[in-house]
């Protein structure tokens, strides 16, 4: 059994991994944050039912996924996205807080190395909630070029983060 403050602290520490998982359903990071908020409120209300931290996390992923699908169905009339089977598979292996901590530190250094144009591309896509059609229009590029640029940026940042983590662990 967990106290409400323990539940909230657990979920808060896992905010980014959980929200990233919900975004796999919503494909909208702002909406995923709203889902996270709702999950927190529901979890605190039923704090006495949780037996372990793993229980809290498993429940949160499932509750958030279901809530996200409900929201999309209410908004769009249907849910089009990853299947329940695939989401369950991903949930079992989803990274947790410790992964985020190391990623954040390394990413802060890696983002400094990308060009201003690429930084603007990421800002438009991940902060201003622009879809790629909109980003392409704003930046004067073709939409396929935007997808390719984003894919390349993620690969570059992923490689950079891995290199930095290896360097840090070796030093």
């Amino acid at each position: 059994m967990h106290a409400p403050e323990d539940i909230t602290a657990t979920l808060l520490a896992e905010r980014l991994p959980l929200t990233a998982f919900f975004a796999s359903v919503t494909r909208d990071f702002h909406l995923a944050e709203d889902v996270f908020q709702e999950v927190c409120v529901k979890a605190v209300a039923r704090a006495e039912t949780f037996e372990t931290t793993a229980h809290v996390m498993n429940w949160a992923r499932l509750a958030g996924k279901n809530r996200a699908i409900d929201i999309l169905r209410a908004r769009d009339g249907r849910y089009v996205g990853l299947s329940d089977e695939m989401l369950a598979l991903l949930a079992d292996e989803w990274p947790e807080k410790s992964r985020v901590d190391t990623m954040q530190e390394a990413l802060s250094q890696c983002v400094e190395q990308i060009t201003p144009n690429n930084r603007e591309l990421l800002r438009l896509r991940y902060f201003e909630r622009r879809n790629c059609t909109d980003v392409a229009a704003i930046m004067g590029r073709k939409i396929e070029t935007v997808y390719q640029a984003l894919a390349r940026l993620h690969k570059t940042l992923g490689d950079c983060i891995r290199t930095r983590l290896q360097t840090d662990s070796g030093s």
Partner: protein, 315 residues
């Protein structure tokens, strides 16, 4: 499938444009390859961290547009999440904090400053509005039909040129409302993060696959100063806005009475005095006659401390 191709597919998944065949391919490759599932999770997490980072930057700069400070950036990242959690745990011993966390909607307020968002009362004026609280713009009217909210809806009729640029191309049917934000500022907590969310519903009631495609837009621009001469400066004043946001949806008809929801958010700088709300329907091949294109249920909502329970707890 190599990692680059997989990431390309994933970017299209994040954008919500995968075809059923592509979705099947994405699932198949992840089902068969644990490394691809790991790449998916890492990319989603990195995207979320980027989203969070840009938002923190915007909050620090106090404006919806990122104004990157000269000095070292991203110092917030060094703040341990554990410390944030500890602050929350301490805060939870206060009854008022528990109330705040269990009532997140208390931080959300639908604004009455946006007048007649359901198009129930007034006619649509022509030209950019001269005053706040009225809808005005290109040729459009209010009609009765199955509405998203109420009994009446806005019908886009014809694209028009901007008043300040009469020789410019008439590429879309634009309807505007100026919203006075000054009364809100007194109620804002100075150190709080305030976000304005604009939402609207659109309906393309043409038969499915009707050409040309039409893009519905809901946009919000925040300005300081006096809106009285904005009609003489629009659209040239748009780049001078303090912050802006837009929601775009492109359709080929076939909505069959099913309203589409669009929303966008902007951070509200303390100096924001008024907002320009713009609803538009833009045919993507011109000239084109606008037919069976509607908007309804326009809402402007103020959210404070929207995403981080710990921030609410620290009030």
């Amino acid at each position: 499938m190599n990692d680059t191709d997989f990431l390309h597919l994933l970017m299209r998944h994040q954008d919500g444009v995968l075809t059923p065949d592509e979705m099947t391919a994405l699932e198949a490759v992840m089902r068969d390859d644990p490394a691809k599932r790991q790449l998916f999770a890492e990319t989603q997490l990195r995207s979320m961290v980027l989203h969070d980072r840009f938002r923190q930057e915007a909050f620090q700069s106090g404006c919806g547009f990122s104004r990157t400070p000269e000095k070292k950036r991203f110092t917030w990242i060094t703040r341990p999440i554990a410390a944030m959690a500890a602050g929350l745990v301490i805060g939870l011993f206060s009854a008022s904090i528990v109330w705040a966390i269990s009532s997140p909607k208390a931080t959300t307020e639908r604004l009455s400053s946006l007048v007649d968002g359901s198009f129930e009362q007034r006619a649509i004026g022509r030209g950019f509005p001269r005053q706040s609280g009225v809808w005005s713009g290109d040729e459009a009217d209010i009609v009765e039909r199955t509405a998203s909210d109420g009994r009446q809806v806005l019908r886009f009729v014809s694209p028009g040129a901007d008043e300040a640029d009469p020789a410019g191309p008439a590429i879309s049917c634009d309807i505007f409302q100026i919203v006075d934000l000054r009364p809100l500022r007194a109620g804002l907590v100075p150190e709080a993060d305030a976000v304005l969310e604009l939402s609207a519903r659109f309906l393309d009631d043409r038969p499915a696959n009707t050409k040309p495609s039409v893009t519905f837009t809901a946009q919000i621009f925040l300005f300081s100063g006096d809106p009285s001469d904005m009609h003489a400066k629009w659209p040239f004043a748009a780049p001078e806005s303090l912050a802006s946001g837009s929601s775009l949806q492109t359709t080929l008809g076939g909505d069959v009475g099913r309203w589409r929801h669009g929303s966008t958010r902007v951070f509200m700088p303390s100096e924001a005095g008024f907002a320009v709300i713009q609803l538009a329907a833009r045919p993507n091949i011109r000239p084109a006659v606008l037919d069976s294109l509607y908007a309804d249920d326009v809402r402007l909502t103020l959210k404070t401390q929207p995403a981080l329970p710990v921030r609410i707890a620290q009030r």
